[in-house]
Every structure is written in C-alpha cells, then in structure tokens.
C-alpha cells in the first residue's frame, strides 16, 4: 500500500517547490501577526509621544515649578494661573473617599466569598460581580448627582449640589465589585492543603481566613487594591458630572472641586482652538494622570505576578 502511494505522489522537485511556497506563506503570516502584536506597543508609544509633544508646547510658556507648586489653576481665565495642585487635590480627595468605602467592603466580601460562602452562593454572586464591573460609568454619574447627593443633603442641608463626597461614595460602590473579584481570585489561588493544615490544627474558619489564607494571598490582594486605586484616579464621568468644574485647592470632601479628568472633559466640551495654551494644558494634565496611573499599574502588575509565581 505504502509503496504504491509513494509512486503516485508528484515528483520530488514539485513537492519541494510546494514546500518553498508553503514556507514562504508561513513566514508572511508570522510577520503579519507580529505587526499586530507590535500595534499594542505603538499605542503606548503613541500616547507618550502625543502627551509629550503637546505638553512640551505648554511647558514652553509655563515653568514646571509653577505647574507643580502654584495652588491656582485657571488657564482659561484672563488672569491665568497654571498650578496643577488643585486638580491633584480634587483627584486625591474623591479617590480617598471612594477607596475608604471600596477597600474594606471589597476585602470583607472577598474573604467571605472565598472562605465562608457555600459553593452555590459563590457561583451565583461571582457572575453578578463581573456583570457589575461592566456597567458604564456615565450611569454612575447619574446616581451620584441625582440620588446620592440629594440623599446626603437631607442629612447635611449645607452640602452644595456639586461636592466630592457624593461622587466619591458612588465611585467606591462602583469599585467594590472590581476589588472583591480580583481579591477573591487571589484567595482562591491559595492551595487547599494550607487550609487543611490549619483546620487540622484545630483552627476555625475565621482564624484560617485571617492568619493563613490572607497572608498567603497578600500580594494578590494588594494588586486588587492598587488596580482599584488606579481606577479611582482615572475615573472620569462620575466626577465630571457630580463633583463640579471649579478647581479648588481643598481636601474637604464636602466642597466641590474639579479633578484632573473632569478638567479635561470640561475643556474638551468647549471648542478651544488647536495649539492654544488651554488646549495644550489638557495634555499637561493628562500627562500627570498617565504617570500616576502608570506607576500604580506597574506596581499592581508586579504584585500580581509575584503571587502568580508563588503557587
């Protein structure tokens, strides 16, 4: 059988020719795929390039020292000041409010889901968490402006319509599913035999969760926090809708203040001519935002990788 098959095959030269063609196509496809992968790198390069070139125009007019130390940000006014600090204080305050809600609740939820909940509860709550991560942020802006802030105003009538507390709380609620989901994944990844060892020594579920599982999953949990921080800092629509547009240097969440992201939205909504200082200022602000989130993302990535390697 095999020999007759061999005799029917085309002569060797033709088969070699086909092979060369085949190998050539293989190479071409590999190169095309490689360029697709490179595109991801080009996006980062593109971001850095655009931010740096546009912001360098800004820094020709404004000294970096003023940018980093002045406590007034009013690039669109007659009496222009270019200090990024008010925008940073707004960003930090809203993020702080959000994280002081999201981190404790998210952590408790993660520990409960991973260590206490029955299989059935976990399997039904986990998809809901994933579903909630995908809800568009503009919708949360609506909640902050028209639900949470009026509610807070009933408790404290002096609260202005645009304040940092309401959007901060909503952002916190928004980030809970994210932190809970990532932290739960980290705790699930702790090998079962560590829990079994602890139970065998007579430890209760709570003792096991706090003294064995949580320490073992620390880097994963920290990664969840860091990614949560990065999300809070970069969050745009909630604060643009409900925290106000006035850059104020304050850390009081009961006041309204613009964040970096809200400022960018505010300028982009208006029609500033390309190349003007106001137009370039959003790239300078964007660069600060990019650097902050970049640092957090790298830290989070490193923490995550460490916990992935351990088990």
């Amino acid at each position: 059988m095999a020999t007759t098959q061999l005799l029917k095959d085309p002569p060797i030269s033709k088969r070699l020719a086909k092979n060369i063609k085949r190998n050539f196509i293989e190479r071409v496809i590999e190169i095309i795929l490689m360029f697709a992968a490179l595109a991801a790198t080009f996006i980062t390069i593109g971001i850095v390039y655009i931010l740096v070139t546009e912001a360098s125009g800004f820094f020709k007019e404004v000294s970096i020292i003023e940018f980093l130390t002045s406590r007034q940000w009013s690039p669109l006014f007659e009496d222009a000041h270019y200090g990024i600090l008010p925008l940073i204080s707004g960003t930090l305050t809203t993020s702080f409010v959000a994280l002081s809600i999201a981190i404790p609740i998210g952590t408790i939820a993660a520990i409960y889901l991973s260590e206490f909940a029955s299989h059935k509860t976990r399997e039904s709550v986990k998809p809901v968490l994933e579903l909630l991560v995908g809800v568009p942020t503009v919708v949360f802006g609506y909640f902050a402006l028209l639900f949470v802030t009026p509610l807070l105003q009933k408790i404290n009538p002096d609260l202005p319509t645009f304040n940092m507390l309401g959007p901060g709380i909503v952002m916190g609620v928004m980030i809970i599913p994210y932190i809970a989901s990532v932290a739960e994944d980290a705790m699930r990844a702790v090998p079962m035999h560590m829990r079994e060892g602890s139970y065998a020594m007579g430890a209760t579920k709570f003792q096991t969760a706090i003294r064995v599982v949580t320490p073992a999953a620390t880097s994963g949990i920290i990664a969840a926090y860091i990614l949560g921080i990065s999300r809070a800092v970069g969050e745009t629509m909630v604060v643009a809708i409900a925290a106000g547009q006035q850059p104020t240097f304050t850390f009081n969440p009961l006041e309204g203040a613009a964040t970096i992201t809200a400022y960018i939205v505010q300028v982009a909504m208006g029609d500033l001519p390309h190349g003007s200082l106001g137009y370039q200022s959003i790239f300078a602000a964007g660069m600060v935002l990019f650097v902050i989130t970049f640092v957090f993302n790298i830290l989070g990535h490193m923490a995550r990788k460490r916990f992935a390697e351990r088990y």
Partner: protein
C-alpha cells in the same frame, strides 16, 4: 529523662482548665459566626445598594421609554427629545470599532501565545498590554485627539471615534484571546504537527477553532465597554446636539455602498445621556434616566451573554 523535660516545658505554659478551654472554643466559634454574618450582610448591602440605584434609574426613565423616544431627534423641548441620532451613532461607531479591533486583537493574541519567542522583547510587549488595559480611558481620548484629529486630519468624525474605541478595546481582546488559547493542551497541537500540518494550519484549523468561545467572550465584553465609554468620545469631539443622521451606508444608485457616513459628525448614547444630565431642568433628567436605562440594559445583556458563554465553555470542555 526526655519525658520529664517535656513535662517541664508544659508546666511553663499556664495550664488551662477544661472550662477555660471550652470558653476559648466558644469565643472562636462566636468570631466565626460574627464574621460570617458581617460578610453576608456586607455583600447583601453592596448588591442591594446597586439594585436600588438601577431600579431608581429605570423608574425615573420609565415614562419616556416608548417607541417615540427611539425615533425622535434630540430637541430643545425635553418632551420631544429622543435618542435616534444617538443610537444610530453608537451602532455605526461600534461597527468601525469591531472591524478594526477584533482582527488585530486576535492576531496579536495568537502571535504572543503561539509564535513569540520567550525573550525580553516579548516581555516588553506583554507588560505593555497589561498596562494598556489599566490606562484611564480619557488618556486614549487625548491620544486620539492629538493623533487622529490633528495629525492624520480625520476630523471629529465617526471613523475617529470608532478607531479610538478600537484602541481601547484592543488590550481586552488580546488578553482574552491569550487566555483562551492558553487553555488548549499542547497534545492537540502535537497531534496536528504529527500529521504534517504547518504552524499556521495548526493555528487556523485547531487553536483558533477550539478557543473561539473564549475569544468571543472577550470580544463581547470589549464591545460592551466600548458602547458605554464616554470620556474618550468627548475629547475627540462628539457633538451633543445632532438633529440629522449620517448618510446611509447603502444607496439606491450604483455602487450601492457609500462610505460617506464615516466622515459624518456624530453623537452616541452615553454622550446624549451626559448632555441631558448637565442641563438644570428636571425634565431633561428624566430623558437622561431613560437613556441610562437603555445603556444599562444593553451592556447588561452583552456582558451577561459573555459570562454565560464562558460558564458554558468551562462546563462543557474537558480536555
């Protein structure tokens, strides 16, 4: 001798009576119960809060959610305003996003997982993709403003917005493609190589086929995210008041297909909601709630499909 030493050590620790030990156990069990209750309450509280918010939104918008709302252009009078231009804009932009991000993302994922040599270069690309997934969306908006609008002169058009969201969606597609491919055992590939398949044949006929479900999950999640994204679309210059539709993609005269719509100005659902939300009149807030309900339902359905799909894949496939 040995025994007495152990006894000595034991006597150093204060001996506990049976009663003390029982109290201790009771205390620990109580802690267990307390934490378990707190955990359950916390989760119920968080989920309930979100549920109340959604119900509140849908109830607010309910009076507006009728056929008219979907067929009316925005208007200065809240009662007449609808989301026709917004949902058409969203649809067309999603089309551009899909066409650009999906082939590129899948190709990049396949390359990184199947072809890429393990070296520093691949590491850099990898860290890059992870980092891109965490870059705030408004930064993509700034990139698009500088690059597409003012460097490539594409203008503030549908094609610009579609490409912007395509960039945003790319890392999501890459990551999910890689995860889906990674779960396919090496044995499958080896079997295909053993009968003489080339690398590309293995990838096309086996790897992509078997990971299709996982890739699709990522695509749907990415599209849902693109649909709800607002910030980058604002920076590339979406208009908030559009009372016209882009030119139809299909025409009566030959060549029947027109690409003029790519050059048209646009608005999208979340932008329409944002613009109504920033008006002081209450009537417009009701419109915003109705638009919000439409967005929420669309994204929940899309994400729900994706999660269900992933659940089914995990359940059915056992290598």
């Amino acid at each position: 001798m040995e025994q007495s030493k152990v006894d000595e050590e034991h006597s150093l620790i204060k001996p506990k009576t049976l009663e003390e030990v029982r109290t201790m156990i009771r205390a620990h069990k109580r802690n267990d119960f307390i934490f378990s209750s707190i955990g359950l309450l916390t989760i119920t509280f968080a989920l309930l809060t979100l549920l109340i918010l959604f119900v509140d939104l849908v109830m607010d918008g309910y009076p507006k959610l009728n056929y008219q709302f979907f067929t009316d252009f925005p208007s200065r009078r809240a009662a007449n305003a609808g989301i026709l231009s917004a949902w058409v804009g969203s649809l067309l932009i999603m089309l551009v996003t899909f066409i650009t991000a999906v082939p590129m993302g899948v190709a990049a994922g396949v390359y990184l997982e199947e072809y890429a040599p393990k070296n520093w270069f691949t590491d850099i690309v990898e860290i890059n993709v992870t980092n891109l997934a965490g870059v705030p969306s408004i930064i993509y908006g700034l990139l698009a403003l500088g690059l597409f609008v003012y460097t490539f002169h594409l203008g503030q058009t549908i094609v610009t917005a579609g490409l912007t969201l395509g960039l945003l969606m790319l890392p999501i597609v890459i990551v999910s493609t890689r995860e889906a491919i990674r779960s396919i055992p090496v044995a499958i590939r080896e079997a295909a190589y053993a009968v003489g398949a080339t690398k590309w044949q293995v990838v096309l006929h086996h790897v992509i086929q078997y990971s299709f479900g996982g890739i699709l999950t990522g695509i749907i999640i990415g599209m849902a995210r693109a649909l709800g994204e607002t910030a980058p679309i604002i920076t590339v210059g979406a208009l908030t008041f559009i009372a016209f539709l882009p030119p139809a993609p299909l025409t009566m005269e030959p060549p029947f297909i027109s690409f003029e719509w790519l050059q048209s100005g646009f608005t999208v659902l979340p932008i329409q909601m944002f613009s109504w939300l920033s008006r002081p009149e209450h009537a417009f807030h009701i419109n915003a709630a109705a638009a919000g309900a439409v967005i929420i339902i669309l994204t929940l359905v899309m994400n729900g499909t994706a999660i269900w799909l992933r659940y089914r894949i995990r359940k059915n496939i056992k290598w």
